[in-house]
Amino acid sequence: MSAPRDEYLPEAIREKLIHDPRVAEQDLRVRVQEHRVMLGGNVASPQLKQRITEVAKELLPDYEVVNETTVVSAAEPDGEEPVS
């Protein structure tokens, strides 16, 4: 299979990140501008965020990787919701 054209590069990166077992995130948003890759979305831990940066750099050694993903809190909830 040929290397993706620039127009399809963000989707190719997104697919690689979904299928890399170190990441396996389906909800990452990928943008490419010039030689910069910007990654967005929610991740579960700072460790996962770091791994995403590492994997993206492996995939695109010639690009600057800007990881703008948000680490989601896993704190206890403050209260409870009565449902009716």
């Binding site: 909800d27 929610n42 831990s45 896993a74 909830p77 009565p82 009716s84």
Partner: protein
Amino acid sequence: MIRIAAVGDLHYGVGSLDILRPSLQHLPARADILLLAGDLTRCGGPEEVAILANELRGLTIPAVAVLGNHDYHAGREQEVRRVLEDADVRVLEGQAITLDIDGVRIGIAGTKGFGGGFRGAHGSDFGEPEMKAFVGHTKMLSDRLERALGGLEADLRIALLHYSPIEATLEGERLEIYPFLGSYLLAAAVDNAGADLVFHGHAHHGEEKGRTPAGVPVRNVAQPVIRHAYNIYTLDAGRQVQPAAAGGIS
């Protein structure tokens, strides 16, 4: 009053150690039951779910789960299920259980569910075998959910899903992927059989709250949505169970 802690999409894998554990310490004092709405692993590995199972082992309140699409990715879902069951987590797929919580019978029917879309824009089991298989899977699981819910004899009835039964809890997701996020057939199953509350996950960018077309409350407890280790919902045990829908095409 029954207190239900619920969360989905924990996506345990390498590096997940201890994410939930600190918040589980106080859980038995705050909730009567823990529900897990699928996608407990990153890639469906038994070694991934074992990390969660170790955190849940010894939990003094009942834990009930369904699996999600990620938990099927490695084709080892039966092993994933066994790891959870070895830690006393009940795993439901087209089945129901009844738990007695201080004399109140809590019935829980669970299924992963599947996609297809929503009213007016649902896929049909028509055409290629692949399309028939896709929609057929949703129909089969929805039918099983309706039977499981309908067969419950309980004071409160809960449906536990991974895929969404409604569109309202998907708002924030891209419209193009709605057919991969849920199906109205799951809502129809809930409305036909009757329930007090529905939980699902899967939609990380969605909204927490919605209702089925017949008015049953739905909560999307995907962890990135609730942004806590779990959320707690209380149900009045004396309330009337939503009646099954009357009439219509059967």
